[in-house]
Symmetry: C2
Subunit: 224 residues, 2 copies
């Protein structure tokens, strides 16, 4: 079967899409959306199909395979394999959800069915890693955004503060960011309106060989 860890930054917090199980096993517990694989289906087609029951799949800005789980004890009743996917939704859209489905902060999860708790964490770590050395940020952000908005998205996803100054410099130097010329409608709290940027390529690409967005503290490292 396939499972989808769908993440979005909502209200400044990284959240994951969960639905509440209507049947045994784990009836009533929250779990990650997904379902069985149809004959002659691609895994990606499968997860897209199952996610479509919960959200508009066209709103997924990114989808990639995480890993395949195979522990015989991961499901109490039957022996089943599950391939997990990571899906991302830009922060500016608010999909309609069925009644049994809702967003939950990744750092404050309810008890989850099966091994879904650890799967969500795997998804979060993958996102954090890729934010560092790819332009995956585009998948979290709207088409256009001010640097401070982007900083808040990164901070929520990475789980630590991010300097707007450095973020701008780094992303501009990598040429993954591009000014649009426009600027943001003046903020409600007053203050100077920030100019708007966009990501240069909506497709995922490795920025350099292995660049990095790190938490504070020293240490990097190469070798020619």
């Amino acid at each position: 079967m396939t499972l989808g860890v769908v993440l979005q930054v909502r209200d400044g917090v990284l959240q994951v899409l969960l639905w509440q199980r209507a049947r045994q096993p784990f009836k009533g517990l929250w779990s990650v959306p997904g379902g069985y694989l149809a004959e002659h289906d691609t895994l990606e087609e499968s997860i897209r199909r199952h996610l479509a029951e919960k959200v508009d799949v066209r709103e997924l800005s990114h989808l990639e395979q995480l890993e395949t789980l195979s522990d015989p004890k991961r499901s109490p009743r039957e022996w089943q394999l599950a391939t997990a996917y990571l899906g991302l939704v830009p922060s500016d859209i608010d999909p309609e959800l069925p009644g049994d489905t809702d967003w939950h902060p990744v750092d404050d999860l309810p008890p989850l069915a099966f091994d879904h708790g650890s799967i969500v964490l795997v998804g979060r770590e993958r996102l954090r890693a890729k934010l560092s050395y790819t332009n995956l940020g585009f998948a979290l952000a709207p088409d256009e955004f001010a640097i401070s908005e982007l900083r808040d998205l990164y901070a929520a996803a990475l789980g630590h503060d991010v300097s707007a100054t450095n973020l701008q410099r780094v992303l501009l130097r990598r040429e993954v960011l591009e000014p649009t010329g426009r600027q943001r409608a003046s903020g409600p709290t007053g203050g100077r309106p920030g100019s708007l940027f966009r990501f240069r390529t909506p497709e995922l690409e490795i920025t350099d060989q292995f660049a990095v967005l790190r938490p504070p503290g020293p240490a990097r490292l190469p070798v020619a």
Copy 2:
């Protein structure tokens, strides 16, 4: 089913373990070892079992999951999923192989069955990436080694020259390398004998958050 991309640096070149198919489809073509999944088996148990038919599995210094392939057309006859694993063998051992099995340089592969050609490349890229920001080098190297030996292993795996000076400095600073005090028996070509080092932890660990071993050229990058 499960597939294993088993890599080793042999004769200064990164090579992959292949066997020649005895039956259709793709009879006579080389392919990556693997086989069907037994009921209630873990994927890792499965690939270990299948690899055991080709090499002594105890000689695998590392084994990790790569990805799960699901393209309906990847096998001409049946619809089959395959989960690929990456296995590594230290350079100082030379496993006995069955007659249908042999090593092939990754950069000079014969035509491969199914999609095995691309799977091998995925394995190679994973190895290259992880050499950069983990201590995965331990899985390619003997227990003890001189820096110049390690440099040659890295160079073969990465596909570009590596500076022994920088490699030593970087790995020592990361504290993944440790001097043993001993030194190498003097080389056959003369020259100063190099002192021997070992990796501090045989288990895989992420050295910093995301450190890097890069090809030449400038560019790194963080953001606090």
